[in-house]
Point group: C2
Chain length 219, copies 2
């Protein structure tokens, strides 16, 4: 075994989590202040080395629980980053996982853990540790690509929401304004959402209909 | 460095290539007969350990050149596979790369290299080495998902093609028949293709218009 190991370049494998939400009309990402070298004091994505007998998905869920305090989230493997110079300690390959969460959940996570913070994807304290700026940038790009063909933005909203709420999160992610009638038509045609017949309670706007995510098994 | 290395679980990182095409109305994948243990004699995806100073994308392109003999192909990182039991030698993480190629190119590659073969994704000699069946299955699933929102299937066709050709590759990938008028309308509306005004040479069918991929910069 020792001989075999020597004949293959040895790498340390890590997982890093990109947890995003929309808050105050900005796309934000959860970051953690590093307590140790390398990049001590810098902000970084929460991450960990993968254990010797640990599956990659399991390692990602462990980081979510241990470093963020969340157990329920739909984590999706995003991309693997393996530039030979990405870690000054040794050769590492990081497998990035991505999740969108409702703002309240990430706010609660940040309130409960020292060292965690939410930063705007566009204007955070730069640069992040390692190649984490590149990981965040790719996450944003993937998210933009997914918006047009998947109901991914619904993960950012509470169970009941208005089409105005849904348009706002789309606009924040895309960084662009959308035509209201065309957006509404596209969402209603998508099959991703359904009206509840209920109206929101009166607020700054004329009360609008509340929608919910459509059960995939109903189609 | 030795001390640091000991404190992190060491992993060997590999890249594996999933090169697919449509041939004789079947979705096929390029496989290689393994000449050494483990899984000697089994079919496997072409792959390699990543070199100590080698970027992941570069390793994938090296495998494409060295093991398949191709230098031009749009390789896309697909997914990383890291089940602790996936390799009997040691802990390995494989980063799978995916590409669709025109059938003639893969046929030429197979003709030029001993040990390479094209096998149907559905009915190949099973099981493949390592977890390569799972890698192929995920590739197929991703490809199906991409068909509806990207011009990925055009990579399987020659520069000039008919809508009949395009529908055929869609049907093979999806494993289902498509409604001809609806398919044609969707493709013409997609902005991915444009008519050439030319007709195919007469064959078994009434000569149909030839289309080509639309230049992305023209929109």
């Amino acid at each position: 075994m020792a001989i075999i190991s020597k004949s293959y370049p040895s790498v340390a494998v890590t997982v890093d989590l990109v947890l995003m939400t929309v808050c105050d009309a900005r796309l934000v990402v959860l970051l953690q202040r590093r307590q140790q070298e390398p990049f001590v004091g810098c902000l970084a994505l929460p991450g960990s080395f993968v254990g010797p007998e640990e599956d990659l998905d399991r390692a990602a869920r462990r980081v979510l629980a241990e470093k963020v305090g969340l157990t329920e989230a739909w984590l999706e493997q995003l991309y693997s980053f393996g530039d030979p110079g990405r870690d000054p300690r040794m050769r590492t390959v990081s497998i990035a996982y991505f999740a969108l969460l409702a703002a309240e959940r990430l706010h609660a996570a940040v309130a409960g853990r020292k060292g965690l913070t939410l930063m705007s994807v566009d204007e955070h304290e730069a640069p992040l540790a390692f190649d984490h700026d590149a990981i965040v940038a790719l996450s944003r790009e993937r998210l933009r690509g997914k918006l047009s063909h998947s109901p991914v933005a619904l993960a950012l909203l509470p169970d009941l929401f208005t089409l105005r709420d849904l348009q706002m999160v789309h606009e924040v992610i895309l960084g662009a304004s959308l035509n209201k009638p065309a957006f509404r038509r596209r969402m209603l045609d998508s099959g991703w959402i359904e009206g509840t017949g209920e109206k929101e309670s009166a607020g700054a706007f004329r009360p609008a209909e509340l929608f919910r995510k459509r059960d995939r098994h109903q189609s």
